[in-house]
């Protein structure tokens, strides 16, 4: 190979501007996903089919279609269908947030259903009413169990957020694309951008691993 690297010609400032947008998108989407995912999980477990089925359809739809299709659909179709015109940042947050909401709802559901039956029986034996059983037995356990997976999903959304570059939100990926065409230095630009993504997500995955190991040590 006879390629000479030139990392000097790639200015970092636009990339960090992009990273800021990426982080904002990620944080906002995570707030939506973590907060609204929970009530959605409750709907998923409802005994009433008319409540459960639409929730299941919503979740399965987000889980079974590519994120890029969802984002492009959102950006093109929501303004046309509902005649609303929102800023691209708001649209990006909503598309990513709804996606994360579906994935997190499944996490909460699995965690709630994983609370052992005998704990509930113990609650009944102690004379706790159904609300108390949910508040003091199911929730603390289920929420603690879902933390590592919620964090993992949060990081997945951080990575998926790169997709909004396709619909021209000026995130890290978008800035990298622009910079690489301006400088004719795709290798350097994309490598730096990839390293920035990596530098953010790697520590979080390590923390998740640590949390999971600690939890296993406690439960076993």
């Amino acid at each position: 190979m006879n390629y000479t690297f030139d990392f000097q010609s790639v200015s970092l400032a636009p990339l960090f501007d992009g990273l800021l947008v990426t982080v904002q998108l990620t944080v906002a989407a995570n707030i939506i996903g973590i907060v609204l995912g929970f009530p959605l999980a409750l709907l998923l477990m409802s005994r009433l089919a008319p409540v459960r089925l639409p929730a299941m359809l919503f979740v399965e739809f987000f889980r079974c279609t590519p994120a890029i299709v969802q984002i492009v659909w959102f950006f093109y179709c929501v303004p046309m269908l509902f005649n609303v015109f929102l800023g691209s940042m708001t649209m990006g947050v909503m598309a990513l947030g709804l996606n994360l909401m579906a994935f997190n709802a499944e996490v909460y559901r699995a965690a709630i259903q994983a609370v052992p039956r005998e704990q509930l029986d113990a609650g009944i034996a102690l004379g706790l009413n159904p609300l108390q059983r949910v508040l003091y037995i199911v929730l603390p356990d289920a929420l603690r169990a879902s933390v590592p997976v919620l964090l993992t999903n949060g990081i997945v959304i951080f990575q998926q957020s790169a997709l909004v570059a396709i619909v021209a939100v000026q995130d890290l990926m978008y800035q990298a694309k622009t910079l690489s065409t301006e400088t004719y230095r795709p290798i350097e630009t994309f490598t730096i951008a990839a390293l920035i993504y990596f530098a953010v997500s790697f520590p979080v995955t390590q923390i998740v691993g640590h949390l999971e190991r600690r939890r296993q040590a406690i439960t076993s």
């Binding site: 399965e60 079974c64 890029i68 492009v72 659909w73 046309m80 396709i166 994309f190 990596f198 997500s201």
Partner: protein, 221 residues
């Protein structure tokens, strides 16, 4: 606004061709990626420090960066570095295989780990040679346990394959976007594209659950 799905009648062949590209790409990368993932999974469990370090860096890097940037890197940078032209299909296959290799290696690693310590002890007690230990005791259980997760990895790959549209490969998503731009009917076209993806991925995820249940029953755990 009024919806008119009949605009799609003319484009059935184009969509089918795009879907075929998506399926072909997914299939090739599932086969190559699972093989790569298996080898990398073994490498990460090996006692050789160098092998372990290299495989860990590879896996962490591919899991820690967006697939989109991996694709861009391989489409635009790899040809420059290698000094050869790569076809669209070749670049797509390389990118998605590397991605699939990284995620399946984690699956294989987890399933290898899940084979209990006592099984190794039993092998030692029975005086089984190392080769028999691996081929007859560890691998069959590990691979069986890996199957459900591998299947969901395949579904993930199928979905991620839509990203190749961003680098101009004519898969289902790319064809869909083209049609939607040409007909100015994004709602109808993109909805149909999403439904096609759904129609394939949804049964697969259901199958994962079924397979999982059967395997758990078989392993009696």
């Amino acid at each position: 606004m009024s919806l008119d799905f009949s605009v799609l009648d003319r484009f059935q062949a184009a969509l089918a061709l795009g879907l075929w590209t998506t399926i072909k790409l997914t299939f090739i990368c599932v086969v190559l990626g699972c093989s790569l993932g298996f080898l990398v999974g073994l490498a990460r469990a090996s006692s050789n420090v160098l092998l372990r370090a290299v495989s860990s860096v590879y896996v962490e890097f591919f899991r820690g960066t967006p697939v989109l940037i991996q694709l861009f890197w391989i489409f635009f940078c790899l040809p420059l570095i290698l000094g050869v032209e790569l076809s669209n299909l070749a670049s797509g296959v390389i990118a998605l295989t590397l991605y699939m290799g990284a995620i399946t290696s984690e699956t294989f690693r987890a399933s290898l780990k899940s084979v209990g310590r006592e099984q190794f002890d039993a092998c030692v007690a029975l005086g089984l040679p190392k080769r028999v230990q691996i081929t007859s005791v560890v691998l069959p259980q590990a691979v069986l346990r890996a199957v459900p997760t591998l299947l969901s990895n395949c579904v993930s790959l199928f979905k991620e394959s839509a990203l190749v549209s961003a680098v101009g490969m004519a898969d289902l998503m790319f064809v869909g976007q083209n049609i939607s731009n040409n007909t100015a009917r994004p709602v109808e076209v993109l909805t149909i594209v999403a439904l096609i993806y759904f129609a394939i991925a949804f049964p697969l995820t259901r199958a994962v659950t079924l397979v999982e249940r059967r395997i758990l029953k078989k392993l009696a755990i």
